[in-house]
């Protein structure tokens, strides 16, 4: 049996010039599960991810993976402790090949070049980019760029993966593909996933648990079917999108 790891966030706070973007948010994920983080535009989802990965400094709060205090580490050390992310606006190394892009995930956590190329190659095959290994990332389709970003993240062999709107810009068919890919990851790689997305079909089909943010505050959390019925959530967010 795989060893379980725990990602814990306690009382996270962040203000931008008086605006409370993240307000006392706590979050718990363990390996093997998928947590959905949803909420209206500007509710602080991306900011929360930015803080958790050390990309921006928090005002207060505690971020740990098992016994490691991630919150006090420089951002470039966070992947070494098993936490990686993708971006809402895709960020790739656009002039480098797909293989090199995916390799960077592994090289970034200290894996040698040859081993990294093997890991990257296998991952690219797995996500369906085997044909594009030698292409520069900028020549990929939008969908493939999303997949490549996920492959790069997985190449770091993370314990926890934070996905910021991976389905944004994808059509229904492509979203289904993404869904089936993501669904297998917790089991096959023993990782915990935090996914942010506005596509409720994806979220409902994928997540074990949901957490809802509004104005930087957690307004609900629990099983998808319960959260979906929560009047405050319907009022703040789902009312306009869910049927």
């Amino acid at each position: 049996m795989n060893k379980k790891s725990f990602f814990n966030v306690e009382g996270l706070n962040k203000s931008f010039a008086g605006l409370k973007a993240v307000n006392d948010v706590s979050m718990h994920i363990e390996t093997g599960e998928i947590l959905g983080l949803i909420g209206p535009n500007g509710s602080g989802k991306t900011t929360a991810i930015n803080i958790m990965t050390g990309m921006i400094k928090r005002d207060s709060g505690k971020i740990t993976i098992d016994e490691h205090n991630i919150g006090d580490m420089p951002a470039y050390l966070v992947p070494v402790y098993g936490l990686v992310r993708t971006y809402q606006t895709i960020r790739l190394f656009k002039s480098m090949t797909c293989l090199e892009n995916a390799m960077m995930g592994a090289i970034g956590v200290g894996i040698g070049r040859r081993a990294a190329s093997e890991i990257a190659g296998e991952l690219l095959e797995e996500v369906g980019l085997g044909e594009s290994i030698g292409l520069p990332a900028e020549r990929l389709t939008f969908r493939d760029q999303r997949l490549l970003e996920i492959a790069r993240a997985l190449a770091a062999s993370p314990k926890f993966l934070l996905l910021d709107e991976p389905a944004a810009g994808l059509n229904e068919e492509e979203t289904d593909m993404l869904l089936s890919l993501l669904k297998t990851l917790p089991g096959s790689r023993n990782i915990g996933i935090l996914i942010v997305d506005h596509d409720m079909r994806l979220i409902m089909n994928l997540c074990n648990r949901l957490q809802v943010l509004n104005y930087g505050r957690t307004i609900a959390e629990g099983l998808p079917k319960d959260v979906q019925k929560n009047p405050e959530v319907v009022n703040a967010y789902l009312g306009s999108t869910a049927s």
């Binding site: 656009k94 990294a116 290994i133």
Partner: protein
């Protein structure tokens, strides 16, 4: 979904590259063919020119091989990090003076540069060691000053490097006890940098610069160039990665400077300033800064163009036109034209490889057949 369609249509045109063997996703043989091809080309040209035995042409080749070394070191940092490193030429200057001080006979030093510090006069190493010691000196200076500058990117990064170049230039041109100050520094010894020495060093540096580009550090540096944020969240330490690239680049610059001083045999600080930086920059831009092949072909092309233009310039001046400086103007315009229409230079940022040559040949013969066919149809 318009962006989506756009990307899709883009990809249809792209050739799908499959891994060469099933066991490895990296074709190391194809990658390293770049080094084999470029060094073979360099050695072939060098051997031919040596066989011709025309001193004037031999001199042009030797100085171009030195320039190539210089451009390669420039490419190592600028190409992989995406930051224009103005101070680079200063490291060439440091290497030039330092290696000369190391290699000169104490007696010659006392005579040529009477103001020199006594402990520097006493130093004496054989040429090969002096060359490396000079390069190490440049690298040590880079290691001392660079750390706080490494987190600066874009124009701020370029401006600080420019300021650093000014500092280097003033120090080199004023420090009488080391560089003979504003007066010419004459080495007064043998011309150690022969055609074969320049060729040998350039070849080794070419292989090293290519190795750097493909090494973990080189890959990391390229990643920071393409997206700083994604690099950081992939585990890449921007400052230390750039630092390694920067001081390695300074080492090669120092090496090139040492070759230069032992070739030209009398130098001043002015030999390592804006004009020469402009020349190597134009070579790198025209060749394509993102690839080692770009440094190679840029140096080759601009050297040939400059020699040609120089003859034209001389001819014009002789026939009564005042045309001095025209070469520089043509070069500057060429650089601008490239930056507008072909920012990745003639190589397009790609490396020359077996596969790229084969592809080129195939598409060339294919096109020929096609045009023959269409001509037949027209007839």
């Amino acid at each position: 979904m318009s962006t989506h369609r756009h990307f899709l249509s883009n990809c249809e045109a792209a050739p799908a590259a499959r891994p060469q063997s099933t066991s490895s996703y990296f074709s190391f043989a194809n990658k390293w063919s770049t080094v084999v091809l470029l060094i073979s080309g360099l050695v072939a040209i060098g051997a031919f020119i040596w066989w011709l035995n025309i001193p004037f042409i031999e001199d042009i080749f030797t100085s171009s091989a030195i320039t190539l070394t210089m451009v390669l070191g420039f490419q190592l940092y600028m190409g992989n990090s995406g930051i224009l490193n103005w101070s680079y030429i200063g490291y060439a200057g440091i290497g030039a003076f330092a290696s000369a001080i190391f290699s000169m006979e104490p007696a010659v030093k006392t005579m040529q540069i009477p103001t020199m510090y006594p402990f520097l006069i006493k130093l004496h190493l054989p040429f090969s060691l002096a060359l490396i010691a000079g390069a190490l000196t440049a690298m040590a200076v880079a290691a001392l000053v660079a750390w706080p500058l490494m987190r600066l990117s874009d124009s701020v990064g370029a401006i600080t490097q420019f300021a650093l170049l000014i500092v280097f230039n003033v120090v080199l041109s004023q420090w009488s006890q080391v560089t003979n100050g504003p007066r010419t520094f004459t080495l007064g010894g043998l011309r150690y940098t022969t055609l074969w020495v320049a060729l040998g060093v350039a070849s080794v540096v070419l292989a090293a610069v290519f190795y750097f580009k493909e090494s973990p550090v080189g890959l990391k540096l390229r990643a920071t160039r393409d997206d700083r944020h994604a690099a950081r969240s992939s585990g890449i330490n921007l400052v230390s990665t750039r630092y390694i690239g920067y001081i390695t680049s300074a080492f090669i610059g120092g090496l090139a400077g040492g070759l230069f001083s032992h070739y030209i045999l009398s130098i001043t600080a002015a030999s390592f300033y804006l004009h020469d930086l402009f020349v190597i920059l134009s070579m790198l831009v025209i060749g394509g800064s993102m690839s080692v092949s770009g440094a190679f072909f840029g140096t080759l092309l601009v050297t040939l163009a400059r020699q040609g233009l120089r003859q034209v310039e001389l001819g014009l001046t002789r026939s009564g036109f005042e045309a001095s400086g025209a070469t520089e103007i043509v070069l500057a315009i060429l650089m601008i034209v490239f930056l507008i229409w072909r920012p990745n230079g003639i190589t397009g940022g790609e490396e020359l490889t077996w596969n790229s040559i084969r592809r080129r040949l195939k598409s060339f013969t294919g096109r020929k057949k096609q045009s023959a066919k269409s001509q037949q149809q027209e007839d």
